[in-house]
Amino acid sequence: MVGLESGGSAPPREPRERVPWAALVAALAFLVIAGRLYQLQILRGDEYKGRADENFVKELRVPADRGLILDRNRRVLVDERPSYDVTLTPYFCGKGCEDVLARLSSMLALSPEEGQRARDRLQAARGLVRFRPFTVKVDITREELDVVEANRVPGGVLGGVDVIPTPHRNYRQGTWAAHLFGYMNEVGADEIDRLNADLPDGQLAYQPGDFVGRRGLEKRWETELRGVDGRRRVVVDARGNATGEDLEAELIPEAQRYEPPQPGKNLVLSLDWRLQEFAEKTFPGTAGVVLAMDPHTGFLLALVSRPAPDPNKLSGRITRAELAAIHADPLQPELFRAIQQHYFPGSTFKVVTAVAALEEGVFRRGGTIFCPGHYTLGRHRWRCDKESGHGTVDLEHALGASCDVFFYTLGDRLGADRLAAWGEKLGLGQPTGFDVGGETAGVMPDEAWYDRHIPGGYQRGMAVNMGIGQGDVRVTPMQQLVLYGALASGTVWRPQAVLRIEDDRGETVRQFAPEARFQLPLRPETRQAVLAGLEAAVNKPFGTAYGSRLPPEDGEMVGKTGTAQVVRLGTRRLKASQVGYFERDHAWFAAFAPEDDPQIVVVVLNEHSGFGASNAAPTAAAVVKKWLELKAQDEAERRGTAGPQEPEPAPAPSVPPVERPGAAPRPRGAALPARGGARGA
């Protein structure tokens, strides 16, 4: 210590005597500082070097373009469009923020809730948060964009306002095939960790604000469609301002400055949008399904499932009220009827009864059954469709004219077990494997099933009902499609909608082959007999769908009508117009054509519309005819041009390029500048 002594009588000692002590103190103090420097610069130098680099390197994401969804002719069905989102950065409007917001409010016609939300964000912005832009309104119209841009001049009345073009999913066809596509919306805070936990290799983690595929193909092929975001690293100063390219060149190695995004893969569907469009316009139903498939491959050609909510709305552009309205709609628009709803198949099921009866030997080919107009078992009497009775009918006539008594009889002879077993052998009662998720298996009730589900257990009369596709038999439209496709080709297919996956240059990265689940386990003569009945149904004057037969030059269509009772009604049949919508019967028609060389199999379900013959068959016939026309037309074109046509390149994204000063070179497909820019700390 300096200058300490224990008193005494001598005069104070000379201060100079304390100099060595003072020098020692100084040396020790500087030694401590040097030691600390050694600790910071040598022992922890690497750590601090890293932190210094982190300080000035700001990573900006360059969002990858999501893959397109194309039809089989490479027509674009789903792509991206720019959504012009208006943001406000509190720091840059300063004291005038309230005024700027008021101006925006009138320019953009903000709703009271939007205005309130923006004011709240403004109030809450303190400190560094004031540098962070927040969204005032997404997806403004072109007119609003013009107004905002005209006023967004330096020193103008819209200080702090930015318009950020953000790529937004665009379902060009609105509600058409909407369930198949699915939709997208923002990833939730609660699921983000789960999503990131099992990311496939090479994928970047989801961040708040990212959109993620929901349902349908968007969800099923999320990984492929998503692509990998690129990265741009810029040098920023302490305020978060970008400093320019000179410093970037100096401070960030070339290779790290820009990693281009990898655009998502495109899905090429097996759907032919010309046929889809035709089916959508031709199908008269309020609710229902039209499915068309190539019976040789199992690839779908058209998929109408109605009603459907607009995926453009669902993708982050829906208000609470609109969403509530969708949930409250008794028609349940969110239901993907083609695979998620099962129905009584009605008379379309009679092919199963016929097959089972022939194969099980309870009915011999050439045999007949007398139809008096009703079938009696014990004290119970089942009515035939034709109250006067069909008289003596063989299988061809029974299928053609859809005689109920004939199939009551066969159902009674077979019993529920054998009927259900044959239903399953034909592909019913189990998911078809259509690969978008949420598929229901339908119901093929055997005796055990009845014992489990019905009070009192199985009774003989239940099989009678099953014989005509009522009772508790339930199938999805997709199962019907697969069943009739199997009758046409002999193969039970797994139905598919995606032909191949392409990269952004149009190169195929994955090709989907037809997938046969199994071959129909039928004797040829059984199939022959059933087909004869289906042919009669459309092409014989007594046939239920005779009115929908094709003109002779198109070949013969074979099929089966169905009218599925939804509610047990009184003893008298009523016309559709005489009962309320939800009590009306469902109309079915399942068919394929031409009979000798099937090109297309079609299933139409028109909910609550009445008779299959009048409300489903005409649509099916029109779709079949249209497809045959399209095939012929394509064939003619192919012959007209030399050799097979080159596939046209994938169309450029519809988002117009937006130039920004200092933007990194944009690779193909990266049409938008880095989101968020280099502003904000």
Binding site: S9, A22, Q41, A52, L128
Partner: protein, 375 residues
């Protein structure tokens, strides 16, 4: 009077001046000053004005003043001590009334176009005043000082320190107290008194704590947990340590410090200038600078040790204390050993008053050194 102001006016004076002048101190001061200007030139790359040019002018003026002071006999300063001290107190009072507010504190006094901080001069004033008081008091004393006998020097120290604290400028007030304490300790204090004084400081700390400004308290709290609040009050400390640490062994090179260049360092021209040096020149540069400061402090202590009388010894010790405490506290703060208080690094930090004050101190050292053998 004229004779007294130019004591040493005998024929041998100029030769003695040259022969006795503390050239080692002068050389160290000039080397540190040159490094300081060079360093400022790098630090001002990102600033709007090239402050190093202004600093050069301040230093030129400072060298002139220091040289001029060396011509005066240190007895002159003994005689003028009370006048100087009184003038500084008046200036400090004036600041309280007429000072300019800069960033919430009233530290600056404007005289025509010149703006300066009287608080900087207070460091010298305390050294001069205390040196005189002890010099005059010594003949009446027997043995070391007890606490009661130290009432006057303690009051002389605390008066300007209190006024400066009021501005508020905690850093400078602390340096003033440190200078006063250094002189007192050199004068000789009883062990018991020192213990009592330390106890008093602790008590004072406890009493003062509730009256500190929130930002001052925050700084002390932040010093205790710097990483707890990286974006808030800990920002200074954290960014400063990042700058220092990232300099590593040999530094990033002059003008290459990213923390400096991109303005991550707060107050990089003034209080945090050492972090610029550390970032760009690494541990080697830092050891060089610390060595220079240690050399300067020991050379100045040498002047104290060789001064002819009590006044000269204590004056030199006080000025040495000023240089040492500022350097140690500033570097300690930059490397995160001490809380962030506004103390400049002598000859490295930018600032006219600070530079002039240091050079005035050097001038006084020169004056004391030149007349060490004169009686």
């Amino acid at each position: 009077m004229a004779l007294e102001l130019t004591v040493g006016g005998s024929a041998g004076a100029p030769r003695r001046l040259l022969a006795n002048y503390p050239w080692n101190v002068a050389a160290l001061v000039l080397v540190i000053s040159a490094l300081g200007v060079w360093n400022l030139a790098s630090a001002s790359r990102s600033a709007h004005a090239p402050v190093w040019i202004a600093q050069l002018w301040f230093m030129a003026a400072g060298v002139g003043l220091a040289a001029a002071l060396a011509f005066f006999d240190d007895r002159t300063f003994h005689r003028l001590a009370w006048v100087f001290y009184g003038a500084v107190i008046v200036l400090l009072l004036l600041v309280m009334v007429k000072g300019r507010y800069v960033m919430g504190a009233r530290r600056w006094l404007a005289v025509g176009p010149v703006r300066f901080q009287p608080s900087e001069l207070a460091k010298l004033a305390v050294a001069v005043a205390l040196a005189r008081w002890f010099h005059d008091d010594a003949p009446k004393r027997r043995g070391a000082y007890g606490l009661r006998q130290l009432a006057v020097p303690i009051a002389l120290t605390l008066l300007p320190a209190g006024l400066i604290l009021k501005q508020p400028d905690l850093g400078t007030a602390l340096v003033v107290v440190a200078v006063g304490a250094t002189v007192i300790l050199f004068a000789g204090v009883r062990w018991r008194s020192v213990a009592a004084l330390l106890g008093a400081v602790v008590v004072a700390g406890v009493l003062v704590w509730p009256h500190l400004k929130p930002y001052q308290r925050k700084r002390v709290e932040t010093f205790l947990h710097p990483e707890g609040d990286v974006l808030g009050a800990g920002y200074h400390a954290t960014q400063s340590m990042i700058a220092v640490g990232s300099g590593q062994g040999t530094g990033k090179g002059w003008g290459q410090g990213t923390q400096t260049l991109l303005s991550f360092l707060p107050e990089q021209h003034t209080d945090f200038i050492f972090s610029v040096w550390a970032e760009e020149h690494g541990l080697l540069g830092c050891l060089l600078l610390i060595g220079l400061y240690l050399g300067l402090v020991t050379a100045a202590l040498g002047i104290a040790g060789n001064a002819r009388d009590r006044f000269g010894q204590l004056l030199a010790a006080g000025i040495t204390g000023m240089l040492f405490w500022q350097a140690a506290v500033n570097m300690g703060m930059v490397v995160g050993l001490l809380p962030v208080v506004g103390v400049t690094l002598p000859l490295m930090s930018y600032g006219g008053t600070s530079v002039i004050t240091v050079f005035l101190g050097i001038g006084l050292l020169g004056s004391v050194a030149v007349r060490r053998w004169v009686n």
